[in-house]
């Protein structure tokens, strides 16, 4: 049997509650399984990413020089938008079917279970976006030397975006139409990530070291991991109460 904390309540009933870590692993597994059972939910942001990337050469013209100068920004903004569009759904279905109520009442701290939700979201969006981004980068003539910086910056940056997006999702989950509102709430918060994400790729394109920018993204990620779940947890409690 799994390890359990036997927690004796005052009645003498035995209340066995999984560890926080065990519980988070369970939530993560559940979220990933739900995503895998509806693969199109995973595919949609990637398709969105691909289609929007195609729009830019059509709008800006196919000239390789122009495309390459816009490539870091285009790739990053598109990744940011596909992350934004999926953020709305992180807690939506759990709110609709009542699972969110149960999650909030769970004895395990909401801070960590919220983090598990966000991790599942990042694994099914940000990680995959970062993984496919080199293909589209090459289509925009981004030099091969910048692909590493693009991949790592997206890897770190989308994790920050998922955490910030989770705040917006938690605050708007109780509202009937949260879609546009969530963009208004969290896009201003996305801007620093965009600045340093594109800067890392641009630095790599010109041969400058991209490490410092990636380090700043890493710092933002650390800060976001520490603070964003607090805001998400409070936001969820407020939304369920409304």
């Amino acid at each position: 049997m799994q390890r359990q904390h036997p927690q004796s309540c005052s009645r003498g009933c035995l209340l066995s509650v999984p560890h926080t870590g065990q519980f988070c692993a369970r939530v993560l597994r559940r979220q990933l399984l739900l995503a895998v059972r509806r693969p199109i939910e995973i595919g949609n942001p990637l398709l969105f990413f691909a289609i929007v990337i195609v729009l830019f050469p059509l709008g800006l013209g196919p000239s390789p020089e122009r495309l390459v100068s816009f490539a870091p920004g285009v790739l990053w903004i598109t990744a940011l938008l596909s992350n934004l569009l999926t953020s709305d759904a992180v807690f939506r279905s759990d709110f609709d079917d009542g699972s969110l109520e149960q999650l909030i009442l769970a004895p395990q701290p909401l801070f960590f279970s919220a983090l598990a939700y966000i991790l599942a979201h990042w694994l099914t969006t940000g990680l995959l976006l970062a993984a496919v981004s080199p293909v589209f980068a090459l289509m925009l003539n981004l030099p091969v030397s910048a692909l590493g910086a693009l991949f790592v910056s997206l890897l770190l940056g989308t994790a920050v975006l998922s955490l910030l997006g989770g705040i917006g999702a938690a605050l708007t989950v109780g509202l009937k139409r949260g879609g546009i509102l969530i963009s208004l709430l969290i896009l201003p918060l996305y801007m620093p990530v965009l600045i340093f994400g594109t800067a890392a790729v641009q630095a790599a394109m010109t041969g400058a070291p991209s490490g410092p920018y990636l380090a700043i993204l890493g710092a933002m990620l650390s800060l976001a991991i520490a603070l964003a779940p607090l805001a998400i947890a409070t936001g969820l409690k407020v939304s369920i109460d409304a």
Binding site: L15, L34, S99, E101
Partner: protein, 205 residues
């Protein structure tokens, strides 16, 4: 295990008051729930039963007067079933987000069988009917080892046989020293004593 009503309460509500839309639903409502008690909250539609349940379980945190002491983690079943359509009933119960214990397959199968869901353990829940969803949710009662149950309209969309099965479970939970606070429109037919809290009259009997 010896159970005496003199022990500390499992749930204590102290002078609760709630105003919704300028109308006072209840005020100065105090109630203490001890092990071995079954409480039924009565009241017409809109009397504030669900609001009271949400205050008692801790989902409502603002906008009411008074306070609630919860020394133990209660099990709360609300109007929504918290059953994920993409997961099978067994997965739903084993990985429940309520943070309850880890149950073996046998335990889960047994609980589902008690509610007439034998053979449905591994089908996707979206193929089940609304009543079956509610039964999957009720199966949590058969698994739970929480001492305090807060049930909001647990018998909605449940057929006669399911209601009987659940009511006998409630009685045995109460006999075993647990406590139940529930709302229901139908009269309970249980072997144990039922305390009634009527929201219209504010009568505690």
């Amino acid at each position: 295990m010896p159970i005496s009503v003199n022990d500390a309460p499992l749930l204590a509500a102290q002078s609760l008051g709630l105003v919704r839309g300028g109308r006072e639903l209840f005020h100065d409502l105090s109630v203490e729930v001890y092990g071995g008690q079954l409480w039924q909250i009565e009241g017409a539609n809109g009397a504030g039963k669900t609001s009271l349940m949400r205050i008692l379980c801790g989902l409502s945190r603002y906008g009411f007067e008074g306070k609630v002491l919860r020394p133990v983690t209660p099990l709360y079943l609300g109007h929504q079933t918290a059953v994920k359509a993409l997961l099978s009933p067994r997965e739903n119960l084993q990985w429940h987000v309520s943070g309850a214990g880890l149950y073996s397959d046998d335990q889960v199968d047994d609980a589902l069988a008690r509610l007439g869901l034998r053979g449905y353990e591994d089908v996707p829940s979206h193929t089940l009917s609304a009543g079956q969803h509610r039964r999957v949710n009720l199966a949590r009662l058969f698994l739970s080892d929480a001492c305090l149950w807060l049930l909001d309209e647990p018998f909605t969309a449940i057929d006669k046989q399911g209601v009987d099965e659940t009511q006998s479970l409630l009685a045995s939970h109460v006999d075993g020293g647990g406590a139940v606070v529930m709302t229901s429109h139908q009269a309970l037919q249980v072997s144990c004593n039922v305390n009634t809290l009527n929201l219209v009259q504010g009568v505690v009997s």
